[in-house]
Assembly symmetry: C2
Homo-oligomer: 317 residues x 2
């Protein structure tokens, strides 16, 4: 029996495994050709990197490449435990330094082949940090964000409407707060550029109590498909040119830069001795960098850059 406020890792785990299943089935259905390959891994299978803090646990990684729609899709479930939280987790909460931890999450990144279909990312997670003789500290986090190459306003508005709909039962202020956090988080400081057109990001959520915080995490997890699927369907059969493909490969470089330089989730995984191949399945299958490349003013490529300054996409909607 689950008393209100009593934390239940098993309940979170059960939800996350089911979410992974549902998202994988939906992506396979949208793709129409690809089937996820599954790898079960456990901490014991990993070579010790010497710097890892993960002690136990493992994960269920699902990836496919070369689909009809998705060039690569990866949906990870992981559940790891460690003797002490890594620096990426305690940088803003030094009081938790040295606590043991348990971390559960689903994290996914979808890289479509067609440059008209945006890349999307979603993550929901639960952390429990414990110390002998003290109350356990726990929190939920998560969110999703969209990275278009040839942005369509209708798509972006629909994406944000799904996010707002998911947040609304928790208060009118929730969507704007977590939308803004997303804009701040998925930002390439060295480029003065957002990673994409945003969505939701939340972390350290516990002030609603366990039940309600967990409910919110589920609302975010469940709404990812509501947000993304309509965009896939509208764009996946749209023809593209080699020029558009080259632009997509170029812009994917920004995705790599964000994930490897700025993303705390990636750094947490690499620093805590997580499974590198599962963490880096977020990186695109093919990427290009071009020194000092700039889109021609007025081109359809330049249109993307205008969307990479955070704005209120739902103003008037």
């Amino acid at each position: 029996m689950n008393t209100p406020g009593r934390i239940s890792t098993a309940q979170v785990k059960s939800y996350l495994l089911d979410l992974q299943d549902r998202i994988c089935r939906a992506l396979e259905a949208e793709d129409g050709a690809a089937i996820f390959q599954e790898d079960h891994w456990s901490r014991e299978d990993l070579e010790d990197s010497g710097s890892g803090t993960v002690l136990g646990g493992g994960g269920r990684t699902r990836v496919f490449t070369g689909g009809a729609v998705f060039e690569q899709a990866g949906v990870n479930f992981s559940h790891v435990t460690g003797a002490s939280l890594p620096p990426s987790a305690t940088a803003v909460r030094p009081e938790l330094s040295g606590r043991s931890f348990e971390a559960l999450g689903v994290s996914l990144v979808v890289h479509p082949e067609n440059p008209h279909v945006p890349t999307s990312h979603a993550n929901v997670r639960f952390l429990l940090a414990e110390k002998d003789g003290e109350e356990p500290v726990w929190w939920f986090g998560g969110g999703y964000d969209l990275t278009p190459y040839y942005p369509v306003t209708e798509d972006i508005i629909g994406w944000h409407q799904a996010a707002r709909t998911a947040c609304r039962p928790f208060g009118e202020d929730v969507y704007p707060r977590y939308k803004e956090w997303c804009d701040r988080y998925f930002y390439l400081k060295h480029r003065n550029e957002a990673r994409g057109v945003g969505g939701l990001f939340f972390d350290d959520l516990n002030d609603w109590g366990f039940e309600r915080s967990f409910e919110f995490m589920r609302a975010v997890g469940d709404s990812y498909l509501d947000a993304y699927r309509p965009i896939i369907r509208r764009r996946k059969d749209q023809p593209w040119t080699e020029r558009q493909r080259q632009f997509q490969l170029y812009r994917r470089g920004r995705y790599v830069e964000f994930n490897l330089v700025w993303d705390r989730g990636t750094l947490f995984g690499l620093q805590s001795g997580g499974r590198t191949e599962s963490i880096l399945m977020s990186l695109p299958p093919l990427v290009s960098w071009k020194y000092n490349w700039q889109p021609e003013p007025g081109s359809e490529e330049a249109a993307l850059y205008a969307c990479l300054t955070p704005r209120d996409w739902l103003a008037g909607h």
Copy 2:
């Protein structure tokens, strides 16, 4: 007049500009088709990223792509000044935190198209950290390392012999010390894998005094071409297959992972508000990631992995 021990930034700058010239001419000659494009930039031209600590200075960036031999080659000179050293520079020397700085260097990365020609990197740099009422602190750093795809023992031995020859006038212990530092530095902890087959790496060099330390930096800078040119000449006309090309693109992913996750030079540049396009010209023009890919045991690709555990390449030579 330059008294022994008296630091002379002008002298260092003059050497570095000449070194950049010489290396660019040599790479153009080896390529036979490409000509470097040059961009002069100054700090005033850069948008303020908000997190930058660079106040002044600028650089001379030279890059070409699509050469006959080199898919991309970038040779940067930069000279920047800042109000306080960025965190990447003071992590191991917290006593320098808050000092103003002046940093000069040449940094280069060469990505050949032919998978038989290794990627190479070199850097030489000088830092001066000042504080009112205290003695200036200065040091030299630099080195070079080689990243083959289809390693040839003869090439690797020649590379390390050139490094040892450059170090020998400074003591028999210098090559082994800086060779080992290079192995430690160019290491992907999250992969338990060296970036390549190493070379030299040194930093914080000042205990020989200014003149001798500067002389050593010049010996390292000048020997880069001695180390790399013979390898280019032996390998550049060797035919390659599509399979080899794909392996090269895959292995380039490791180069990106190292530079963006672990390289203090890259982080120093991005954190100090340097010119992003000049810093990231180190990234390869085309890169692939493949989830959980492993070379077939006994294949020519597997042979590379055997070289990625640091070893003494000159044992018996």
